[in-house]
């Protein structure tokens, strides 16, 4: 290439590019990063299952007042520790009914709360029945419930607790607290972590030292003590709404530090890219460089980290409620439902008190982990196949 190539071109006219250069012009339509992401995600069945389970749980939590047959705080003084009703399709004459029914029970042993079925009292399950009125999402007021049994009787699909409250209804209402605590928590802690980690990594110097030393301070305190100490700041008799917000704030306050450190590390490597220098050369403001050029390139990490850290918040709420400093009775949360299963007697005689919230927590945590794993694989550029460049 010592001499000028003889062929000159008109820079104003689009070049006839050589074949090697015109890959982007070939007939295949360009794939947006989103398309590639979905194709990759579909390859992981566990992630799809996890995602579907979560979708279902969140949907149920949103429409809890409609799906739950009874209000979360309603006590049935005739049926403490009632075991889960079983649904029957075949009556005692042996004939089949399409509509499932439950049998009325009576307290056989008041000391041990042993109930037995009354064979003759069959209560068919009715759908879309009128019951206690509620307001859903602060918008829809109604008294329609998905299912129930005829007046005067009760259906407890998952049994009742020591106050005679329906576990199934409490599970749904509790899900509103336990499932959103994670989402709101990561929303707060990730905003904090991203912003502070981003500033720390990009600006550097004294700012970096101040932010990083604060995170170290926060991380050096055992988190359970920190949680309890922070909880002590709030009065014990707050309304449950405020307790809920308090818990989210506490968990988020503890959660941002670890994330900020990782984000700082990512930012340190991303800022060395020449597109950041190009933005600086153009005079783009620091805030815009951080929010537009640096942080979006941490998304794949952040999405995965967020998915994987949601269970931490759910379990955090469970721990707090289990210790009695979280969501206060009579409001339901999965944590304080689990709290009811603390005694040995409950475990041996009324195991549904453990299973019901336990399985819900287990499934949610597993689903989040599966989804997180799947997302990590789908967002890993080294795994992407069939893409250009």
């Amino acid at each position: 290439m010592t001499s000028a190539p003889p062929d000159r071109h008109d820079p104003l006219a689009p070049l006839v590019l050589d074949p090697a250069e015109s890959r982007a012009d070939t007939a295949t339509p360009p794939e947006s990063p989103t398309t590639i992401f979905w194709r990759q995600l579909k390859k992981s069945p566990l992630a799809i299952i996890g995602g579907s389970v979560l979708l279902l749980f969140y949907l149920l939590a949103i429409v809890a007042p409609f799906v739950a047959p009874y209000p979360e705080e309603e006590m049935d003084r005739r049926r403490y520790f009632h075991p889960p009703h079983s649904l029957h399709l075949i009556d005692r004459q042996g004939s089949f009914h399409l509509r499932p029914f439950v049998r009325e029970t009576r307290l056989a042993n008041p000391q041990q709360f042993r109930y037995e079925d009354i064979e003759t009292e069959e209560r068919p399950l009715r759908f879309f029945v009128r019951g206690a009125s509620y307001t859903m999402l602060g918008l829809v007021s109604s008294n329609l419930h998905l299912f129930g049994v005829d007046n005067g009787s009760r259906v407890y699909l998952l049994g009742t607790d020591s106050f005679g409250r329906d576990e199934f209804s409490r599970l749904l209402y509790g899900g509103q607290v336990s499932l959103t605590v994670g989402l709101v928590g990561i929303l707060i802690s990730f905003s904090l972590g991203l912003l502070l980690g981003g500033i720390s990594g990009y600006v550097g110097g004294a700012t970096d030292s101040v932010i990083m030393r604060s995170t170290e301070l926060l991380l050096s305190i055992p988190s359970l003590y920190l949680i309890i100490a922070l909880r002590a700041v709030f009065p014990i008799d707050l309304p449950s709404q405020q307790v809920y917000l308090g818990i989210v704030a506490i968990l988020a306050f503890i959660g941002w530090a670890g994330l900020a450190r990782v984000i700082r590390g990512l930012v340190l490597s991303i800022r060395r890219n020449e597109y950041v220098t190009a933005a600086e050369a153009l005079g783009v403001s620091r805030f815009r460089i951080i929010t537009r050029h640096i942080l979006p390139n941490t998304w794949s990490f952040v999405i995965v980290a967020a998915t994987i850290s949601v269970p931490g918040y759910i379990l955090g709420e469970v721990v707090l409620s289990f210790l009695g400093v979280g969501v206060q009775e009579p409001a339901a949360s999965w944590g304080n439902m689990l709290n009811q299963a603390r005694s040995l007697r409950a475990l041996t005689s009324f195991p549904w008190l453990l299973y019901v919230p336990g399985v819900a927590i287990f499934l949610t945590v597993m689903a989040f982990n599966f989804l997180g794993d799947g997302l990590r694989d789908a967002l890993d550029p080294r795994r992407v196949t069939g893409g250009t460049s």
Binding site: P5, R8, A24, N273, A278, A281, L282, T388
Partner: protein, 338 residues
């Protein structure tokens, strides 16, 4: 030192520009030494001129480019853009000047944000300086893409859909988006295939002539620089070894380092024998550069004086500057040079 045509104010005056990187160690980041990436370079660039900056890896070419554009804070020295001192200006003071000085990068892969479409990359450049509004922004983006030989329809695409050469064109379009007067091209073709290199160099040269741009063209390849530059500065270990008009430098080098670089250019003729000067050893560490002439450890002409006396960059012929004690005795490389 002044440039050949001293009657007009140069677009860029660089004086004794230094950039030392501290070497830090220990718990309290004690500075234990300095890497002298740039150790006092001075030159002028006239408007509409192309100044080539060549040298081996690690000689400070890229650092020079970044320090001139204030993308790095120089340790000392002065850079005047159109007569205005720009060293030490704050971010906000530099901002209005940024649109006059742009940069094209070496790596076409890391120089474009993978999360942004080509359109939004170019729009950002335009809107940052309020150069257009509303629909005019999109017109300008289309114009820029056409200017660099791409199609306006490409603006909805992401960088990963383009080849290296095309990405480099996008990088050039981004630099041109703000109508700059000075462009620092930081090894714009060294990451490309040889077949694409010529296209991009030609594009840069055409744009320069058409829009009366001024380039500082950084490269490690003398043949590429020769093709595009009016004058060439040869750098060695953070200093300028020789500075002359392009034709003069290639025909009549006055520094042994330049001679050895020129002798390494391949000649596309198998029958021609050439006398190649192979330099001994590696480039010394810029943290601990040799005393006297920095090149004396590898120089085939070295004399005792070279080890303790620093040669100054002096004008050995009109417009031809060399930093060698024996510049007058340097012979042009053996016949066979192109």
């Amino acid at each position: 030192m002044s440039a050949p045509s001293a009657n007009t104010t140069p677009i860029l005056e660089v004086r004794d520009l230094k950039k030392y990187f501290p070497i830090k160690k220990g718990l309290f980041s004690r500075t234990v030494g300095q890497v002298k990436a740039l150790d006092g370079i001075s030159f002028d660039v006239q408007a509409g001129e192309v100044l080539g900056l060549v040298g081996e890896s690690g000689c400070g070419k890229t650092t020079a480019g970044r320090c001139i554009l204030q993308l790095m804070q120089p340790t000392s020295g002065s850079v005047k853009f159109e007569g205005q001192e720009i060293v030490g200006l704050s971010r906000s003071e530099l901002r209005p000047l940024r649109r006059h000085m742009q940069i094209v990068f070496q790596d076409p892969y890391s120089s474009l944000n993978p999360r942004l479409t080509i359109g939004s990359i170019l729009r950002e450049a335009i809107t940052t300086h309020n150069l257009a509004r509303g629909a005019a922004v999109n017109d300008r983006v289309a114009e820029l893409l056409t200017l660099v030989g791409l199609s306006p329809t490409h603006q909805a695409r992401y960088p990963h859909e383009f080849s290296g050469g095309q990405r480099q064109r996008i990088g050039i379009a981004r630099a041109l988006a703000v109508n700059p007067r000075l462009i620092v091209a930081d090894e714009p073709v060294s990451a490309l295939d040889v077949s694409i290199q010529a296209q991009v160099v030609n594009l840069l040269r055409d744009l320069q002539r058409q829009m009366h741009l001024t380039y500082i063209f950084v490269a490690h390849d003398l043949s590429v620089v020769k093709h595009i530059s009016d004058r060439v500065a040869v750098m060695y270990l953070g200093t300028i070894a020789e500075l002359a008009g392009s034709a003069e430098l290639y025909a009549n080098p006055r520094h042994p380092y330049t001679v050895s670089l020129l002798s390494a250019i391949p000649i596309p003729d198998p029958d021609r024998r050439r006398h190649r000067i192979v330099l001994r050893g590696d480039v010394p560490s810029p943290a601990n550069p040799p005393s006297g002439c920095r090149f004396h450890t590898r120089c085939y002409m070295a004399q005792p004086v070279c080890a303790h006396e620093v040669p100054l960059l002096r004008e050995v012929a009109p417009g031809h500057w060399s930093a060698c004690h024996f510049a007058e005795q340097v012979a042009a490389p053996a016949p066979g040079q192109s």
